[in-house]
Symmetry: C2
């Protein structure tokens, strides 16, 4: 397995793979890999001759009051996991290698990124879209794989690929959960034992929404109310949003008619967690 | 020569060229081709096995009060000129083929595009950067050629390529002028005989700046004043700006020390014209 830190070297490898007509699958990550990431690596392997995993904690997608500095990092462990999964190349650049001091070009999605996490994290999706654009140009993938846990991010990237006519196929991998239902996330490492118990409520709330919708509840307001009740029962979970949106536009719906998604974002202690479930229609 | 209107077909041709390791040179244009464009085609041919000319009057780079509807168009003539120059493929999509009705992703340059034309044409460079990003993904060029007449545009695109790590080499072709010095532009077709005479003042003003700088004038204010005097002498030329900027940052300079550029934008009748000259340093 190659570990590449230099943008130029990664681009040379990409050009070489192109010349040899090898299909590249890319899994962009911020590292501190867990089973969710590894499932995406396996999906990438099914669709490429060669799998590249990028590991980059992207400063541009963190707000000034967010957890950039304390975001968990363990490159050695990540490399070992990638090696076990048969990854061909890990691309792990520094922030200095990725952003010029006078960087001034940004990719901005202006519709799907407004609500949900975009409302609470201004600039976040601009940072995400920009770094993914850069990674696509550096790695030149044929296929790129993202997780459904970051549902809004996945939709923003699909839209970016569509609107900028990128010759890249986007694949989404399913949410991987702990035994008790908590969605896997590198940020789960922040949780104390007590918080870890409370964090499960995100999953329980979404299951409730799924159950109610499955049993015929169509009023989104009823689903939102019920999710909030579950999240807030017992205290210690600070809800940022508990939403039901159209799966295509990400706009809140009044009734669950077509494909919809229930999404929650909440703070458990200092840790912000998100999760979602597709409701069908 | 192939004429392609479909994005999908153009992308298939790009993928095919990549597979066969043929180097592609792209010349993005808005059509109504003149000798300036054709010189860029020749430059592209020197650097590619295959030349693609795109012809697309990009709605996203025109303001609501600008000349999108009356912008000159003559596809048959353009195709004949491209055929004569040995162009391999002309890509001439419709606006509907290029932009989805709910397009929501934009590429934004936030430093170099603020002043000069960016100040008078809000959204213009966002439209330019976005359509060039799209064309790069559709045509997959190894080299792309732009004219120095649109100096700020060229710098914005160079910055976009740098900041988004595009594996594309940008080449700039020199300004091609009419016998009397007027920079060639598709918009010159708008000028009446009388306006055509007045339009020459843009060139005369820039030559004056070049002459003064060559003779040792370092104060940018003196150069600006003199350019304005030349432009306004006799009336009928409405100056938008007459600037001297740093060639790298495009910020106004006080003194011409390093590489600098003198740029003018002015309205002659209803026609907005631009021109520039590099002052060295």
């Amino acid at each position: 397995m190659n570990t590449v830190h230099s943008v130029r070297e990664m681009q040379a490898r990409a050009a070489d793979a192109r010349r040899r007509n090898r299909r590249t699958g890319l899994v962009p990550t911020m590292g501190y890999l867990h089973e969710g990431h590894l499932s995406l690596v396996r999906l990438a392997r099914e669709h490429g001759d060669r799998v590249v995993v990028s590991i980059f904690v992207n400063p541009a997608q963190f707000g000034p009051a967010e957890d950039l500095d304390r975001y968990p990092r363990d490159l050695e462990r990540d490399l070992a996991l990638c090696r076990e999964e048969g990854v061909d190349t890990v691309f792990a650049p520094s922030a200095e290698a990725m952003y010029a001091p006078d960087a001034s070009v940004w990719v901005e999605e202006t519709a799907l990124s407004r609500g949900l996490c975009g409302a609470g994290r201004p600039g976040h999706f601009r940072g995400v879209a920009t770094v993914v654009a850069k990674l696509f140009h550096i790695v030149q993938p044929d296929v790129a794989v993202f997780g459904r846990k970051d549902y809004q991010q996945a939709r923003v990237i699909e839209r970016m690929v569509r609107d900028l006519n990128w010759p890249v196929r986007i694949l989404l991998g399913p949410i991987v959960r702990e035994a008790d239902g908590l969605a896997m996330s590198s940020r789960n490492a922040y949780l104390s034992a007590e918080e870890r118990v409370r964090a499960r409520r995100l999953y329980v709330a979404l299951r409730e929404a799924e159950r109610l919708a499955g049993a015929g509840t169509r009023e989104a307001a009823a689903l939102r109310t019920r999710m909030r009740e579950v999240l807030e029962a017992g205290g210690g979970v600070d809800v940022e949003y508990a939403e039901v949106v159209d799966a295509r536009t990400l706009e809140p719906v009044e009734r669950v008619a077509g494909p919809a998604v229930a999404l929650v974002a909440a703070r458990v202690g200092a840790t912000r967690l998100i999760d979602n479930v597709e409701l069908g229609g």
